[in-house]
């Protein structure tokens, strides 16, 4: 199985490199950074530029062996033991004289904004969770370290390779701000519909491949007293808009998502988005439970563990997040989203895999070299392995799954990825670029799914908000080509 992952990733890596070459050709300033040239001749980087990459395989960033390192970890679904019992000991092993100050928090923004303001940020930050900091805004304020030296540095496992060549395709792109890599998205996440394999087997149900099958299955589940499909409206409406976007991309191709990211005129009222929104709304309005608009994600997930919810939209972290609630008889599996039309551009097997969970290095940290080295350790096979063991999630390191026995959920994601082949739904930047629009998207998603507006109104409202965002001079503009 891991064999097939490698095959497909190699294939799409070539595709990715082609894309990068193209980007460099289009001469986006700073895109040269991504192409192979590591000389950095035209680096007119802002005041705080990080340590250079010396090319020394042992200590490429010139870390001072006794320099203390402060690591801030978001204590969410991944926990923090992957750092305290994984990466930090690995760093200590390399630099026994360094002291590591570990901080675990869920209030990343509230805790760290004042420290950025005071010019005393920590060295390394897991910038995740509901209260994460806006990376784009931090870059604009020259607060983040350009991670190019890291990507160009030799890999720990094979010094003849650069780190960027040891990562899964699509790892670097979501972390680009103004064309430069500032965010390391470390976790490889597959998105889709999650269900209990055993429950499905018992009832001889199979995950639906089309929305018609979805409705037929929903009828059966309903008569079995199970809510066929649900998401948590109270705090996780974004799980549902992911599904809308994935379906829209399957209908009309990845350019649909690119257009949404770029705030193109008519992107939200485009046919694929409209169809996708209508299809999902029909499912939830017909078969969902209105009360779930008031539930939190953990509550709905627990209902699923109790066999009361059939299919649930989420990502690879779900299995680990629910570890404590999941009964022994429950076996997580993930299926792709059903096809909306028979003329969809992407096949049913297409899924969205994205590099997620952003890690950043403040440019004004005291030990930026140490932080880069810490990331290099994370991106080693050993770092990836220990991360999987402690957090239950696979990383963007190629071959991270080799030699580890995968949990059922992770295995089903890996299977889905290999079946999808080149048909991968791209990442979306709305969450990081257009915060205001994203807030509106959450609101409108709930309004649509719980029947207060129609799919047409949904598209209309989002289009208006996108227009407003586009015309707002106070919001700095971003653009992606593909």
């Amino acid at each position: 199985m891991s064999e097939s992952i490698r095959d497909t990733t190699d294939l799409s890596r070539r595709r990715m490199l082609r894309g990068i070459g193209l980007a460099a050709f289009l001469a986006v300033p700073g895109a040269g950074v991504l192409s192979a040239c590591a000389t950095g001749g035209e680096s007119e980087s802002p005041p705080a530029s990080g340590p250079a990459n010396t090319g020394n395989a042992e200590n490429p960033f010139g870390v001072k062996a006794d320099a203390p390192l402060e690591v801030v970890i978001f204590t969410g679904g991944l926990g923090e033991t992957y750092a305290t019992e994984g990466h930090e000991p690995l760093y200590k092993k390399k630099f026994p004289n360094a002291t590591i100050k570990h901080v675990g928090t869920q209030q990343i923004s509230q805790q760290l904004q004042p420290r950025f303001a005071a010019g005393d940020p920590p060295d390394f930050i897991a910038n995740s969770g509901t209260n994460l900091m806006d990376n784009t805004a931090l870059v604009e304020d020259s607060q983040l370290l350009d991670l190019t030296p890291l990507l160009e540095a030799p890999s720990i496992d094979d010094p003849s390779k650069k780190i960027k060549d040891t990562l899964l395709p699509g790892t670097i792109e979501p972390g680009l701000v103004n064309g430069k890599p500032y965010v390391l998205n470390y976790v490889s996440i597959g998105y889709g519909l999650w269900y209990d394999k055993n429950l499905f087997a018992k009832n001889s149900w199979t995950p639906p491949k089309t929305f018609d099958e979805f409705k037929a299955l929903a009828e059966k589940m309903k008569s079995a007293g199970i809510i066929p499909y649900s998401y948590a409206g109270a705090n996780a409406s974004y799980y549902q808009y992911w599904m809308i976007m994935i379906s829209a991309a399957k209908i009309g191709g990845n350019e649909v998502i690119v257009a949404l990211d770029n705030l193109d005129d008519g992107a939200w009222t485009a046919e694929p988005v409209r169809k996708s929104a209508a299809a999902w709304a029909e499912i939830i309005q017909t078969y969902g439970d209105k009360a779930h608009e008031g539930l939190k994600h953990t509550e709905v997930q627990t209902l699923q563990n109790q066999g009361k919810v059939g299919l649930y939209p989420s990502g690879s972290w779900l299995e680990n997040e629910q570890k404590k609630e999941t009964p022994a008889t429950f076996e997580y599996a993930m299926a792709p989203t059903p096809s909306v039309t028979s003329s969809d551009k992407m096949p049913y097997e297409a899924i969205r895999t994205v590099a997620g969970e952003g890690y950043i290095i403040p440019a004004k940290g005291k030990n930026t070299a140490g932080a880069l080295e810490y990331m290099r350790i994370m991106l080693s096979k050993e770092g990836a392995k220990v991360f999987y063991e402690k957090s239950g999630n696979l990383t963007v390191v190629k071959g991270a799954a080799d030699g580890v026995s995968l949990s059922p959920g992770n295995k089903s994601v890996a299977d889905a990825v290999s079946k999808a082949g080149d048909n991968l739904v791209t990442f979306s930047n709305i969450e990081s670029w257009w915060k205001d629009l994203e807030k509106e998207l959450r609101t409108q998603t709930n309004a649509l799914m719980f029947g207060r507006i129609t799919a047409d109104q949904f598209c209309e409202n989002m289009e208006n908000k996108a227009k407003q965002t586009k015309n707002d001079p106070a919001i700095p503009k971003q653009h992606r080509d593909k």
């Binding site: 004042p114 509901t130 304020d141 607060q143 409206g233 109270a234 209105k290 009360a291 106070a474």
Partner: protein, 303 residues
């Protein structure tokens, strides 16, 4: 001597005035300044943009929605809380009639007092978690389970856009009432027993007693309570943040200014704009406090 007295006064005042200036006035001044910059994060350089943030603010739907909700809170929260608190305080302190030279409450009033006060000592986060379970919209919610067991349908307490704000107000009232019961109890205890006695001798019933004796003599306390609750109505952040659907939803039906400020500052990274909202909130609160004190000013009854 005169000289010495001033030195004495200044010596006493200098430290508190300095601290007040440093920790109250100075942050306010900073917020006013920030409101006129385009600052995005706390670390942004300050770029002065005049009143642009305010212009944007006054055109924002969510801002006016939030202001409208404060209007509702401002009317409902004090009215409901004070009515309930007065009623309960009266029962606990006076309604038992006079016995042994003083007015007493109904039977078991001391126990009730403790029970009523209890929500006040609970942390807001706890209260919110408690009410999440009470308002939970499916059959597992405490309220809905009761409704279902008596054959009524479930209610989406926090889901119906027209009901959600009132559900939130319910929580705020529940939490506040206890404190005002105790406050009014103290006020009622300080009303001389002779007044009640003479009223009773004149054949005054409990209703009349409340409206003609207790209420007027409690006016000062009431006025303070009104201002407190009014100011509380401009907050409500924690309860809305923890309890409402989708942070101030559904469809923005429960959002309040502090929540919008929090979202703008920490989610949308627009410190300048968030500060502008903070300044607007400051003036709203100030206006309310001044109005409330003006309107409720009345001649003091000496006793």
């Amino acid at each position: 001597m005169r000289q010495g007295r001033y030195r004495f006064i200044i010596g006493f005042l200098a430290v508190p005035v300095f601290l007040y200036g440093l920790y109250v006035i100075w942050p306010f001044a900073q917020a006013f300044y920030l409101a006129m910059t385009s600052k995005r994060t706390a670390a942004s350089p300050d770029r002065f943009i005049g009143f642009d943030n305010f212009e944007r603010l006054f055109q924002s739907d969510r801002f006016w929605k939030a202001v409208g909700h404060h209007g509702v809170l401002l009317l409902a929260l004090p009215l409901i809380t004070l009515a309930i608190a007065l009623f309960l305080a009266y029962l606990l302190n006076v309604a038992g009639g006079s016995r042994g030279g003083g007015m007493t409450g109904i039977f078991g009033s001391k126990v009730y007092k403790v029970i009523f006060f209890l929500p006040q000592v609970l942390a807001v986060a706890l209260v919110a978690v408690l009410f999440q379970a009470i308002y939970r919209p499916d059959g597992l919610g405490a309220l809905n389970a009761v409704l279902e067991s008596v054959g009524l349908g479930r209610v989406g307490w926090l889901l119906e856009p027209n009901l959600a704000l009132w559900s939130i107000i319910g929580v705020l009232v529940w939490q506040a009432v206890g404190f005002y019961v105790v406050l009014f109890s103290a006020g009622m205890a300080s009303i001389p027993a002779e007044i009640y006695e003479s009223a009773e001798m004149d054949g005054c019933g409990r209703f009349r007693m409340f409206f003609s004796v207790t209420l007027p003599l409690l006016w000062d306390t009431l006025q303070v309570a009104w201002v407190y609750l009014g100011i509380a109505a401009f907050d409500a952040f924690a309860v809305v943040q923890l309890l409402s659907v989708d942070f101030g939803g559904p469809d923005g039906a429960t959002t309040v200014l502090p929540l919008e400020i929090w979202q703008e500052a920490f989610r949308n990274s627009r410190f300048g704009y968030a500060s502008a909202m903070g300044v607007a909130l400051f003036f709203l609160t100030l206006t309310f406090a001044i109005l409330a004190l003006r309107v409720t000013r009345r001649e003091r009854i000496e006793y």
